[in-house]
Structure formats: structure tokens, C-alpha cells
Amino acid sequence: MEHCAACGTPEQAAALKAVIEQSRSTPGCLMHILQEAQGIYGFLPIGVQKTIAEGLGISLSEVYGVVTFYSQFSLKPKGKHRISMCLGTACYVKGADKVLEAIEKEVGIKCGECTEDGLFSIDSCRCVGACGLAPVMMVGEEVYGRLTPEKVKTILEEYKKEEA
């Protein structure tokens, strides 16, 4: 487990170990373990992937291959406030691209990046299923609907104020 020392607390390492122990005998458990690991660490640094590979007796390349295949798994840390703009069709035809531009401008980073202070990260996603409220973004678990570039500004200013 020495790989984990560099990328987390002893509590996190213990939690990961427990997840691996609990699931290792289930067929096809790798995805589940990765999801749990991302829940524990917030992202999947190489050290965590090594620990999982060793715990399951498979190669790191196999773990890395799965991590990089699925868009939900992240090799980089995400912001405290994870902004996720829906770019599904229903949102797109209602101007989601313009809303995303406004978010990028407001936060000062591009989609896929995280601010240096670690407060905000922006990602795009494909349909959260709230098409009735299109265009939609999520900040953490909170869904904001019927967005316009102006509305985005007001919402994000609230988050910034909260952090100031």
C-alpha cells in the first residue's frame, strides 16, 4: 500500500483497502472499485490505480486502460464546486454553447480545467435528463435550469461571494 502514501491520508488508504477486500471476489468488480476510489479521493491518481492493480492482481495498464476509457473517471483533481454544463441535444438547440462560453468567461478557465485555487472546475456532460429545463448546468449536485448567459453570471457570483 506504500503507493498511496503520496496521494492521500491514511484514512483514505484504509477506506480503499476495505473496498478492494470487500469486492475483489465479485466478477467484474474493477469498475465498482474505481467508482468507490474516486468517491474516496475525488480523482484517480496513478498511486491509487497501482494500489488497485496490486490488490486485484492485475496489471496497472489494465486499470489505467479502464480509467481512461470512461469519461467519468478523472486523472486530475476537480474543483470544490464542480460545474458541469449539459451539452445534450435538447440543451444544445436551446443555446447551451453560449451558456458554456459565459461560464468559461465568468470563471476564467476552459471546459475540462480546474482553477488554480481549486475552487471551480468546468466539465461538459451529455444529458442529465432534465430536458424540460434546458439549457441546464449542474454545480455539484444542484441543477440550474432555463439558463441564459446573464443568469449564469448571477448564479456563479453567488458561489464566489460564498467563498470570499
Binding site: 467484474g28 469498475m31 470512461y70 445534450g88 435538447a90 436551446k94 444529458c127 424540460g132 449536485e141
Partner: protein
């Protein structure tokens, strides 16, 4: 639980559920036996939850305490369908349909309507249910609901999604009882086969045939899978079924397990659907507690269990072999067929995979019979189809209609038409694998085969309405960006083909297109269709081919005239100020992010101030000036 206990349980909440299904007068009589004077159903689906229906419920509970109301039941249900007007709340037995609820509205309804002797608060009702003369019409009679026929969604928005007793009272688990007590596996397969049910996931393969292949495959270990990896952006019917009636899926999978000889099921569900996952977990736990899942179901000797597996955001995992590879814990790449999953699927064992909506049709087919089911729909497409109406349409939401309903009925009558007086241009079906149906085909009866004949496909049922402001080249590019991003990379035609198609489309939208690009696109598209490994690559060119077929003039306009017909493609736009209309207020210049607008010397006749003009060299074509001009002086060409 035994069969007798199940029957008794079904009766326990029968009247409680019936109050929500019958007309007002009957409901009022029934309500007397239920212990609840009224019932308030609040939508707890993703759409309404996003517009804060939980706060509405919290407010109702608080108001009930304050007002001493203890004989009104609050029920958190799944989706009612009319997501655009959420949060939605229905009060029975009156069937009063409140829309766009806020906590303040909930307080008002509690104080004026839900108290003893209260009256419906008309001004908060969904406008469609209030007649011009002020009388209230049942919501089932409104245009949105009238033409619908709810089979797959029969219990969505009717029952408390987290209460197995309500699900049982509404008819869930009656079919598994019938199957295990009176039918052989062959009887079950014959019933499904005779019903004419075709897979609702996209390809439309006959469900009964799939099952019979898997039954015929040798082996003791077989699997039943549910595809709940609803990846088609804009489609959310599977999510709504899982959120509104998760037990109907569990029951149907158990029935299939009995029919093909499987004892284990897997539900592969998108991790982006947290509410659906949570309700599935609750449903599986309850089904175990009530002896409807696990060992010796209903004491009748059949074992079946179900596990949930979460996806991690890969569109290709909607393809059956890729989905199974993903459940096995690998990169979700498809594998060549044959062997088909019915012979060699999950963990190399015979497997059937159906999507959520398909499973939702099984209980009614078993209970009402194949003959009833096959009497609905068209010659080769039986039953109903759920569509997720989205885009430029008034009633965004979920609708279920018999196969063969025309696009016009769906858009104009049920959907309430296009907002803002805009013109209908096309409907997109089948998502990134489908195509566009132009206005001239609006009277085509929609079924599997008709959609293919006009160059689109059913897909999972996303139906995105496009109006005159949509650029068809841009929308093709949007889909190609999606498929290029989601291509798994295993086979060359798809990996490279999607990238090249996207490059060509980008070139055209940037005004750099050449006439031979269209020839190249068509040639490449044909190669991809014939040589890609799975349906993702085979169907990725469909959005381009269908728009190229129906809207070739728009492509040509971009290439020959460097002009975007709909005024969408930024590189081809130019903004100008009509100096005669400009009153010189300066709002445009004030809001221009790049200071590209300045005052001129020209004062138009009748105006006091000099007009403004845009420096096209500086302009970034953001359109802010146009949205800020109250005098319509900014023109976009």
C-alpha cells in the same frame, strides 16, 4: 411471501391507488374507505426535483402541521410527463393539476384547498385544465394527455415510487404470479413473440425471438440484462420508468429469467441518474424482503436475483456487446457478432439484453395477452412508444403514443406546437444514430419501418424539434462531435471516419468548404456504414446523410455563398447596424465586450442622436448588441 399473501397485499392499497385512476365522483366515494380525505401527488422525477419539488413537499408537511391536517396523504411519485411545467402536483380525488409549484404556492394550496371544505385554487392550476368559462377539465382531457396511451408509463406519476405495496396494488408482480403458477417457459416466450413486441432500445429486434434463441442455447448458467445506459442525449424515458415504477423492470426480468432458464440478472445503469439508481436499490431491497426476488420466489421454487452495475459515462456501452464487456469490468469495447449474446454473451454465457422501456411492456403483455397488445400500433410495429419531446417545442416532456401516430399529432397537438411563432423545420429522432425528418414528412405515421424509410430511425425515442433558427449543418456537426468523442477507438472506420467527417463539417461551417467535400462526405459515410464494427460507427454518418438528403441546399449555401441559411454558423455571420433605425441610445456600444461599436456622424431623419456602427474587423460576432437593441436596428446576416 406466498401467492395468497400477495393477493391480500394487492387488495390492501387497491382503493388508494384507484382513487388516482377513476373519475372524480367515483374517486370521492372510494376515498372514504381509504382513510385519506385527499391525496397530494408530487412529482419526484429528475425534472421536477431539479426545479425543487422536494421543497414543495417540505412546505406541504409544514403547512399540514400548522393547519392540523392529518387526513391528506402526500405521495412522492415518478414523472408525470409534463416536465416543462414542473414541479407538478396533483390533488385527488378532484384530479386538480397544479403546475410550476413553489413553496409559497404549496402553502396557498394547503390553506385554501387541502383544508376541510377547501376549494381548488384555480389560478395555480395548469392553464390547460381551466376552460375559458372557468370550469375545470380533467387533465386526462387536455391535449397533452388525451392522445396518449400509457402502457410502459402506466404507473409513472401514479404510485409512490419507493413503496412496493403501492406498486403491487397497481398491478406489479401480478404477471410473475401468473407466469409461475400457470405458464410454462415456452408459453411465456410464445406470448411475447405473438405480441409483436420489438426492442425499444433502437434496433427494434423482436423481443420474443431474442428470448427463444437464448432459451434454445445449451447451458445451466444464463443471464438476463437490462440496458439502462440511456446514452442518447435528449432521451429520458428509461430514467423515468426506473424513477417512477422500478418494480415493473425487476418483475419483467424475473419473468424472462424463468422463460430462458436464467437465475441472475444485471441492470446496467448510467451513474448520471442518481435518483434512478437510488430507487432501484430500494426496489431490489424491498423485493427481497417481500420474497419477490431471491430464492424460491413466492414459494413456487424459482430463484432469481438482480444486481445493479453502474456505467461510467461511455455512450458505446449502450451497444449490447460493449455493455456486457463493461459489466465484466473492462473497457467497454464492442466485440464482433456472431457469436450473438443469446449464444455467448456476458461472462461467455447465453444472455439476453433488453432496454428498460421494453421490460416495462412485459407485465401488460402477460396480463392482458398478446392479442390485446398486437391490436395496438401498426402492422409491423406493435404497441406504444414513449418519446422524449425536447428542443423548440412548448410542452417539453415525456409522451407515450400508439405506434403509427403522426409527427404532426405529436408536435402540434400533444406538444402544443413551436413557441415564439417560429416555423417547424425538422424533427430529429434516433439521436446521434438517427436523422432529421423534414416538415414535408410531418404526416408520416411513426413506426420503426417508416422512420427508416425516410432516412431516420426510432432509436431510443428522443424527439428533438428544430425550428427555422436551427442550422442543419451545425446540428450534423454537433452529432459528429458527439460520436467522434464517444467512438471507442477499437475499429478504424469509426475511429478515423468520425474524425474526418467532423473535420469536413467544421470546414464547411467555417466557410472554407469546397464542392468536392460533399462527395467526400458521402463516400466516407458509405464506407463507415459498411465496415464499422458496431452500430455506433455504422450509424454515425446518419445525421449527415439525412440532412444532406433533405437539406442539401443549406450545405450548398455554406459552400458556394459562404452564407449560413439559418444565421447560426459564427464564421459566416456579420452584424450590422441599420443607421436609419438606430436612435443612438448606445446600449449596443455599452455592452459590446470588445469595444467594436462606435458612434458615427450620421443622424437619421426624425432622431436626435447620431447612429452607431460596428467595426467588422473587431467584431467577435457574439450577438450581445443584437440582444440589447430594443429598436431592432442590429441585423444578423
Amino acid at each position: 411471501m406466498t401467492v395468497q399473501e400477495l393477493d391480500a397485499l394487492r387488495k390492501k392499497k387497491y382503493e388508494l391507488i384507484q382513487v388516482r385512476r377513476v373519475v372524480r365522483e367515483q374517486g370521492e366515494k372510494m376515498a372514504e374507505h381509504t382513510g385519506y380525505r385527499k391525496q397530494v401527488l408530487v412529482c419526484g422525477g429528475t425534472g421536477c426535483t431539479s426545479s425543487h419539488s422536494a421543497k414543495v413537499i417540505a412546505q406541504l408537511e409544514e403547512s399540514f402541521k400548522e393547519l392540523g391536517i392529518d387526513d391528506v396523504l402526500i405521495v412522492k411519485t415518478g414523472c408525470f410527463g409534463l416536465c416543462a411545467l414542473g414541479p407538478i402536483m396533483i390533488v385527488y380525488p378532484e384530479g386538480a393539476f397544479y403546475s410550476q409549484m413553489t413553496p409559497e404556492h404549496a402553502k396557498t394550496v394547503a390553506e385554501k384547498h387541502l383544508v376541510k371544505g377547501g376549494e381548488i385554487v384555480k389560478e395555480l392550476l395548469y392553464k390547460g385544465t381551466v376552460h375559458e368559462d372557468g370550469s375545470i377539465i380533467p387533465f386526462a382531457e387536455t391535449p397533452f394527455y388525451k392522445k396518449q396511451m400509457r402502457i410502459a408509463l402506466r404507473n409513472c406519476g401514479v404510485i409512490a415510487a419507493e413503496d412496493i405495496e403501492e406498486a403491487i396494488a397497481a398491478g406489479d408482480y401480478a404477471a410473475i404470479e401468473k407466469v409461475l403458477t400457470t405458464m410454462t417457459p415456452d408459453d411465456v416466450i410464445k406470448e411475447v413473440l405473438d405480441s409483436g413486441l420489438r426492442g425499444r432500445g433502437g434496433a427494434g429486434f423482436p423481443t420474443g425471438r431474442k428470448w427463444s434463441f437464448a432459451k434454445a442455447s445449451a447451458g445451466d448458467v444464463k443471464y438476463v440484462c437490462c440496458n439502462a445506459d440511456e446514452g442518447d442525449p435528449g432521451a429520458f424515458m428509461d430514467r423515468s420508468v426506473l424513477e417512477g415504477d422500478p418494480h415493473c423492470v425487476l418483475e419483467a426480468m424475473t419473468i424472462a429469467g424463468y422463460a430462458i432458464g436464467a437465475h441472475q440478472g444485471y441492470i446496467y445503469v448510467r451513474a448520471e441518474y442518481p435518483i434512478a439508481v437510488e430507487r432501484l436499490k430500494i426496489a431490489i431491497k424491498q423485493a427481497h424482503e417481500y420474497g419477490l426476488l431471491g430464492k424460491n420466489i413466492l414459494g413456487l421454487g424459482f430463484d432469481f436475483d438482480i444486481e445493479i452495475r453502474l456505467g461510467a459515462g461511455a455512450f458505446v456501452c449502450g451497444e449490447e456487446t460493449a455493455l456486457m464487456t463493461s459489466i465484466e469490468g473492462h473497457r467497454g469495447e464492442p466485440r464482433p457478432r456472431p457469436p450473438f449474446p443469446a449464444v455467448k454473451g456476458l461472462f461467455e454465457k447465453p444472455t439476453i439484453l433488453n432496454n428498460v422501456e421494453t421490460w416495462a411492456n412485459i407485465n401488460p403483455i402477460i396480463m392482458k395477452g398478446a392479442q390485446w397488445y398486437s391490436s395496438i400500433g401498426t402492422e409491423k410495429s406493435k404497441g406504444t412508444k414513449v418519446f422524449a419531446l425536447g428542443g423548440k417545442i412548448t410542452n417539453v416532456g415525456l409522451v407515450e403514443v400508439p405506434m403509427g401516430t403522426t409527427l404532426r399529432e405529436i408536435i402540434e397537438e400533444i406538444g402544443g406546437g413551436i413557441p415564439n411563432g417560429k416555423k417547424f423545420k425538422a424533427a430529429q429522432t434516433g439521436g446521434p444514430s438517427g436523422g432529421c425528418i423534414p416538415a414535408e414528412y410531418i404526416d408520416t405515421p411513426i413506426d420503426f419501418d417508416n422512420l427508416v424509410a425516410i432516412g431516420s430511425m426510432m432509436g431510443s425515442g428522443g424527439l428533438i424539434v428544430l425550428d427555422e433558427d436551427t442550422c442543419m449543418v451545425d446540428i450534423s456537426k454537433f452529432y459528429l462531435e458527439f460520436t467522434a468523442d464517444e467512438s471507442c477507438g477499437k475499429c478504424t472506420p469509426c475511429r478515423i471516419g468520425t474524425k474526418r467527417l467532423l473535420q469536413l463539417l467544421t470546414k464547411i461551417t467555417e466557410g472554407k468548404g469546397e464542392p468536392e467535400d460533399l462527395v467526400k462526405i458521402e463516400e466516407l459515410a458509405e464506407h463507415m456504414k459498411s465496415s464499422s464494427l458496431c452500430a455506433l460507427g455504422q450509424s454515425a454518418p446518419n445525421p449527415i446523410l439525412s440532412t444532406l438528403h433533405h437539406f442539401r441546399n443549406e450545405y450548398e449555401d455554406h459552400i458556394y455563398n459562404h452564407h449560413c441559411t439559418a444565421g447560426v454558423c459564427k464564421a459566416l455571420l456579420s452584424f450590422t447596424i441599420d443607421k436609419e433605425k438606430c436612435i443612438g441610445c448606445g446600449m449596443c456600444a455599452k455592452n459590446c465586450p470588445v469595444s467594436a461599436i462606435a458612434r458615427t456622424d450620421y443622424v437619421a431623419p426624425g432622431h436626435k442622436l447620431a447612429s452607431f456602427a460596428i467595426d467588422t474587423a473587431k467584431c467577435i460576432k457574439c450577438g450581445v448588441c443584437q440582444s440589447n437593441c430594443k429598436f431592432k436596428a442590429v441585423e444578423r446576416k
